[in-house]
Amino acid sequence: MYENGEKHYIARYTTLVMVWVSLIGLTWLTVKISGIGFGTFSIIAPFLIASIKAFLVVDYFMHLKYERPFFKWILLVVLGTVIILAWLVYEDVAYRPL
């Protein structure tokens, strides 16, 4: 047994199946709209949908929703780091004298 009798979140089967149905639905949607060609949106849309899917997996399948705040904070730190690192590299490639 684990010490200090921590309560563990146990996911309900129906919740999990609902999440799965949404994931498959979003996949169908993203395949359907790919290549329709509405300019910039056809680049943004797939990544927007992918992010919703990733959010569903992380929050429900990986139980992040039910974890203590510390886990959410480190996720934020990681995402912030990624954004800053990418921004600094783009400062180079976007303005490079060629």
Partner: protein
């Protein structure tokens, strides 16, 4: 089995196995010490030979190709095997759990696995030494690293394996600090060394994987030609430099932060006074870790990347000097009006502060975009980073060795002799590297195995310095090894320190504490402790 049995005593059975399969954090710390120090002496020898080669112009004791391999290996060994892991793996492992009042790290078996992976990486690195050492420099820059005929992929893979070991150590340390602090050990009662290791561990976790995947791409380029860095195939070699320095610049802080933590431990003990600006030192560790991750571009000022990026990276480079300077001010502020006891570890601290100041200030000079164009890839840079990595970071580790030696081995070395060896080390170091600032300013490029006649005199001075330095190192470690076998038994708290590791016997018992202590004071509260040495 007595419950107070020292961790150094082995039960019946194979003695070797009781060490190399031990999950005791103290033994693992010493395992790291053994491997790292043997490789350190290899690295010193390589550096010594490189200097010796320059004693006459043209080939003296080796050809240019050998020289290229030598500086590559010297870099790989000294950076990836010695200075990046040394303080974190040896004293982070040995001291951190005791300092926070824990019996071990969070994942003891993972800790042992990290050591084994580290050994595997070390063996791979040595294998390249025998087969045909890489000649790319420790930075493995594309596109040359893609076409060099030496065993570059193997060397790169060795660094990847060492990185994996770092990552696992980092995960272990972060989790340990979060989960295993003793009752009453709040965040603001953590010894400053623990803060430093904590910040370091975060850098290891976040930055190392980026280097890892970058190295994997170099391997994939060499074997399959995936073309992402090869300009002949449409790749962009500058992007390799980005990904390389995203890790390797923060790695400089992986080297220096633990040493700064060591210094922050030693100063209050020998000033008999609580540390000045505890929170400033603690948070500046985090500040250095965060800001230090945003300055990698100053290694690329002449790579042909964009001016915009150059300006931004130059600015961030100036900013990171602020938390570094905060630390130095606080160190000096702690000494102010203290009742200073001058003893061996304190001499190391004084030498450290000088080295760190010289290295740090020349770093600000190099961070200035325009001056950098003139000084880039000259001896000036070589001198600067040796002051930081060797003069400061490695000296901080030597300070830790002399400070914690009585606790770790339960014996005392000859302090007088140690002071003399430090003096000779200090003189040799400055003779070796101070002339390099001038040589670099006058235009002597790094990594060349030959030079123009006008550089000869300063080269001789620098080579002479390398001999003095080697004598200093030999004296220092000879003295420690003698102390290890013949030294007088050390008392429990020789220096009169207040942190938890000095409240247990020397050497510490297997389980560290009979009962987990309850912490009631900050770690620099000297009222109830006294010095046990004359």
């Amino acid at each position: 089995m007595s419950i107070r049995e020292s961790y150094l005593e082995s039960g019946p059975g194979s003695k070797l196995a009781s060490w190399i399969f031990s999950t005791d954090h103290k033994r693992i710390g010493l395992l790291y010490l053994a491997v790292i120090m043997s490789l350190f002496f290899v690295g010193v020898t390589l550096g010594f030979l490189m200097r010796l080669e320059l004693i006459t112009r043209g080939p003296t004791i080796m050809e240019a190709q050998t020289y290229n391999s030598l500086f590559t290996l010297h870099g790989v060994i000294m950076l990836f095997i010695f200075i990046i892991p040394v303080t974190t793996s040896v004293f982070g492992n040995f001291m951190l759990p005791i300092m926070i009042g824990a019996r071990d790290v969070a994942f003891p078996r993972l800790n042992l696995l990290s050591w084994w992976i580290f050994v595997a990486g070390t063996i791979l690195a040595i294998t390249t030494l025998i087969l045909g050492p890489a000649d790319t420099g420790w930075t493995f820059y594309a596109p040359y690293s893609l076409i060099s005929g030496q065993y570059v992929a193997l060397a790169v893979f060795a660094v990847f394996v060492l990185g994996l070991s770092s990552i696992l150590t980092g995960i272990n340390m972060v989790t340990t600090v979060h989960r295993l602090r003793a009752p009453g050990m709040t965040w603001h009662r953590l010894p400053l060394f623990v803060w430093a290791i904590y910040a370091t561990a975060w850098i290891l976790v976040i930055a190392t994987p980026i280097l890892g995947v970058n190295l994997l791409m170099i391997i994939a380029e060499r074997f399959f030609g995936i073309g992402v860095f090869d300009p002949a195939k449409g790749g962009d070699p500058i992007l390799y430099q980005h990904l390389f320095w995203i890790y390797s610049h923060p790695a400089v802080y992986v080297m220096i932060l633990p040493s700064l933590g060591v210094i922050a431990e030693i100063i209050p003990v020998f000033s008999r006074k609580t540390v000045f600006g505890y929170k400033a030192i603690a948070y500046s560790s985090i500040g250095i870790a965060a800001l230090g991750s945003l300055v990698w571009g100053h290694h690329m000022f002449v790579s042909g990347y964009s001016y915009t990026a150059g300006v931004i990276f130059s600015l961030f480079t100036f900013l990171v000097a602020i938390p570094s300077a905060v630390k130095v001010y606080n160190f000096v502020g702690t000494m102010y009006k203290g009742s200073i006891v001058v003893d061996t570890p304190f001499y190391f601290v004084l030498a450290f502060i000088y080295m760190f100041a010289v290295g740090g200030l020349t770093g600000v000079i190099l961070g200035a975009l325009s001056i950098n164009i003139h000084l880039h890839d000259t001896y000036f840079v070589v001198a600067h980073f040796h002051y930081i990595k060797f003069g400061a970071a490695a000296l901080g580790f030597f300070a830790a060795l002399h400070y914690w030696f009585p606790k770790v081995f339960g014996r005392m070395y000859n302090r007088r002799f140690a002071n003399w060896s430090l003096l000779i080390f200090f003189i040799g170091f400055n003779l070796l590297f101070l002339p390099m600032f001038v040589l670099g300013y006058e235009g002597m490029p790094r990594r060349y195995f030959d030079y123009l006649p006008q550089y000869a005199n300063l080269q001789y001075l620098s080579i002479f310095g390398s001999w003095v330095l080697v004598i200093g190192i030999a004296m220092m470690f000879g003295n420690l090894i003698k102390g290890l076998f013949r030294g007088k038994p050390a008392p429990q708290n020789p220096w009169g320190a207040a942190t938890l590791e000095w409240q247990v016997p020397s050497p510490p018992p297997k389980e560290n504490f009979r009962e987990i202590p309850e912490v009631k004071h900050n770690p620099y509260h000297f009222e109830n402790v006294r010095r046990e040495l004359d």
